[in-house]
């Protein structure tokens, strides 16, 4: 069985995604958003178009308005979105939010929320981080039972697409101690709920992030998504799938950066010759090519596994995130260096890829987090 060769339908989807994004949301469109301090940093019009194309429902079943086309399909779109630096709620609302809701939510919750996510009226954001390093099991954020309700207290930071969200999926500790997988619960919290206060975080990739304070926020049992104390059962696979999808986006960015750099090596002249004739640069470019080839295999294997192909998804997710983190760092640094002086100007798009990579590296675990996890999963 071939799992790593895209089907004709997947190729068509990726081609049409590429055409749409390059025509409507090229890198210059992102630059425009950034320069005009649009807040939250995405185009509502483009997001509406993207939802009309069905991308927001690709992994969702048809009963919720989705296409049921799987993770390989969504991955193809993520790759293309990385190439044009698309800023949209696709990752937070669909890859994380809707995916978690699909895995853990009750029938009522899914019926109430998912169709509205698919059409773009509702945006979800996962409020999971509490410190500067991704560490979901360290969650301290409390949800105190109070009669039939819960009282939420604590601060969540680095909430991706927090400013455009209508609902937060908040990871809280309902029992146990930091480090325990048991005792985590997830609540769906309307942003307008009393005691919720969000602040916009302006990060170097000029996208939408928030820090959110929860001060005695009261939620009901109905707002619990997944069983009490047992959210990790759904959260871990959700995070793994989202890591692989983010790795797909990062792969798109890496490939775009690399292709632009190779093009520059072919064109730029110094000492009367093309700089791509210098072995010092040729070898570095060729090495980077090899690393990127491995990135493609890792991402495609991860996506195929999410659609049912053999392989441990946890291992593949940590492999993908760690490798794509490392090579995103290498590829963007090499892109800047090989472009020389123009590489450090804001005018050149390479800087935008450089900055996006640094934020993506931190989302859902840096390389050291994933290497540690890979080691544990393999018994060393």
């Amino acid at each position: 069985m071939k799992h790593l060769v895209p089907s004709d339908e997947h190729i068509m989807l990726q081609d049409s995604a590429r055409q749409f994004l390059q025509a409507n949301c090229p890198v210059s469109a992102f630059r425009h958003l950034r320069d005009n301090s649009v807040s939250p940093c995405y185009s509502r019009q483009h997001w509406k178009q993207i939802c009309d194309l069905g991308w927001s429902g690709i992994i969702l079943p048809e009963e919720y308005g989705g296409l049921d086309f799987g993770y390989v399909g969504l991955g193809a779109i993520m790759k293309e979105s990385g190439r044009t630096l698309l800023a949209s709620p696709l990752f937070a609302s669909v890859c994380l939010g809707a995916q978690y809701l699909l895995r853990a939510g009750s029938d009522t919750q899914k019926r109430d929320i998912l169709p509205s996510v698919v059409c773009g009226d509702t945006c979800l954001a996962l409020a999971i981080e509490e410190g500067p390093h991704h560490d979901p099991l360290a969650t301290l954020f409390t949800a105190q039972p109070d009669g039939g309700n819960f009282v939420l207290n604590g601060t969540k930071t680095f909430v991706v697409d927090g400013q455009c969200a209508n609902y937060f999926l908040v990871v809280a500790r309902t029992s146990g101690k930091p480090g325990d997988a048991k005792g985590l619960s997830v609540f769906l919290v309307d942003i307008d709920r009393k005691g919720v206060e969000r602040k916009q975080l302006h990060l170097l990739d000029a996208r939408d992030y928030s820090s959110v304070d929860f001060d005695n926020v009261i939620v009901g049992e109905d707002d619990l998504v997944g069983s009490m104390n047992d959210a990790w059962r759904y959260l871990e696979p959700t995070l793994d799938a989202a890591r692989i999808l983010l790795a797909a986006e990062m792969l798109g960015g890496i490939c775009e950066c690399f292709e632009r750099t190779v093009e520059y090596l072919r064109d730029r002249e110094q000492f009367g010759v093309k700089i791509g004739s210098f072995q010092a640069l040729r070898h570095r470019a060729a090495h980077l090519f090899a690393e990127i080839e491995l990135c493609k295999a890792v991402v495609d294997t991860g996506l195929a596994a999410l659609d049912g192909a053999p392989g441990s998804i946890s291992v593949l997710a940590s492999l993908a995130k760690a490798r794509l983190n490392d090579i995103a760092l290498l590829a963007t640094n090499e892109a800047v260096q090989m472009h020389g002086g123009i590489g450090v100007t804001d005018e050149l798009d390479i800087g935008l890829f450089l900055k996006r990579a640094r934020v993506a590296i931190q989302i859902l675990g840096d390389s050291s987090y994933h290497r540690d996890r890979f080691g544990r999963l393999n018994g060393y």
Binding site: L4, V5, A322, G375
Partner: protein
């Protein structure tokens, strides 16, 4: 149901019935049957296993039957390979230069007579081949070869020397790059010649390497004779055959860790044996990080191989990707050697004698030999040159 499922069941049943128990244990370096007039079996079981596989044509499963192969499709050959690996079956005949390199070149460039003469003898393990490419003045600059073949009507007379010729002392025939037109430009005057080594004009001297072994030799030709009909491809057009064959060599070298016999413990197993664990985690965080980095890259490379296999549809790599696989796989082989020594500490330094078990004694030699892997078959730097030129299309 997949059409290969029935074949898989058949293969498993046959292997279970026919592969002797002893041939399902990891083999030491001298235990694999290499074929040729000097090849010998390490045991009666090894002979039985080889003969049974030879009868099925499964020493070269994907070669056509008329040339001694098994006539399997690429998908079937992959099933056989996978199931042999799963059951731990040793290769009945080691994958040498004949199977991996000359064979494919004969299929592509050989005349019907050449194919019928040479391929079955490779498949049946009767002739062992070696590769006469490098010379003292032609390493990375391979096209600079000086070994000459003079036209004497019905045959050539060969004079010169070949260096770094793997296993020449155990081979029967050599395929050689020779200069047939000294006046032509570098690449234009080269021909590809098949030479029987069992003659007086050829002398072989093994070279001791830093591993303490002598896998490489120097071959001296003094008025050696080669028949005209053993010219592969056209006269003075041997460079085309040579380049194509280099791609097969890169593929072979990128799969060394899969097909070669080496120390049987993986780096992860070595780590657990020589380092302490706490709650399933190595306490030495520095070495643990090195181990994980290596294992992740090795897994990524394996997935990349799988992807290339699925994409090719032919069971053969895209020619342009062979350089990248050769480069990455051999660099990784070197890293594995360094990593295992580091994980073993002083227990990985034993060269001979008491105080070390046989597995431990193998590690430093494997480590030392791994240094040759990024030099032989086109150095890493040469592979990067090829990628830059052929794949990235960078200007020269």
């Amino acid at each position: 149901m997949e059409p290969l499922d029935a074949f898989r069941r058949e293969v498993v049943a046959w292997l279970e019935d026919n592969c002797p128990r002893s041939q399902r244990e990891p083999a030491g370096p001298e235990e694999l049957y290499q074929g040729g007039s000097k090849g010998c079996f390490s045991s009666q079981d090894a002979r039985t296993w080889f003969e049974r596989m030879r009868e099925k044509g499964w020493t070269v499963p994907d070669w056509p039957r008329e040339y001694g192969g098994g006539g399997l499709s690429p998908g079937q050959a992959k099933v056989l390979k996978t199931e042999m690996k799963r059951l731990g079956c040793r290769p009945p005949l080691a994958t040498g230069q004949g199977i991996a390199m000359l064979g494919p070149a004969l299929f592509e460039y050989g005349s019907e007579q050449q194919k019928r003469e040479h391929l079955p003898r490779i498949a049946r393990g009767e002739v062992r081949w070696c590769q006469g490419y490098s010379e003292p003045g032609a390493g990375s600059d391979l096209a600079n070869i000086q070994c000459r073949a003079e036209d004497k009507g019905d045959h050539f007379v060969v004079n010169g020397t070949k260096l770094w010729t793997s296993n020449a002392d155990r081979a029967d025939w050599i395929f050689c790059l020779v200069r047939t037109d000294p006046k032509a430009a570098k690449q234009a005057g080269i021909s590809f010649l098949l030479i029987d080594m069992r003659q007086n004009g050829i002398e072989v001297r093994p070279i001791e390497l830093i591993s303490g072994e002598s896998d490489f030799c120097q071959v001296f030709f003094e008025n050696a004779r080669a028949e005209k009909h053993n010219l592969l491809g056209d006269l003075n057009r041997g460079w085309t055959v040579a380049k194509r064959l280099l791609q097969h060599e890169r593929t072979l070298m990128s799969q060394l860790s899969e097909i070669a016999v080496g120390p049987k413990f993986s780096p992860g197993e070595v780590a657990r044996r020589y380092l302490s664990l706490e709650n399933g985690v190595l306490t030495n965080s520095g070495l643990r990080e090195q181990l994980v980095r290596y294992e992740m890259d090795a897994m990524a490379l394996a997935l990349s191989n799988q992807k290339a296999f699925e994409e090719s549809g032919q069971g053969r790599l895209d020619p342009n990707s062979t350089s990248f696989f050769k480069y990455y796989a051999t660099e990784l082989d070197k890293r594995r050697g360094e990593l295992k020594l580091a994980l073993m500490g002083t227990q990985g330094l034993g060269w001979s004698g008491p105080g070390f078990d046989s597995d431990e004694l193998m590690e430093p030699r494997t480590w030392a030999f791994s240094k040759a892997l990024t030099i032989a078959g086109g150095s890493s730097e040469v592979q990067l040159n090829v990628i830059a030129k052929r794949v990235l299309d960078l200007p020269e």
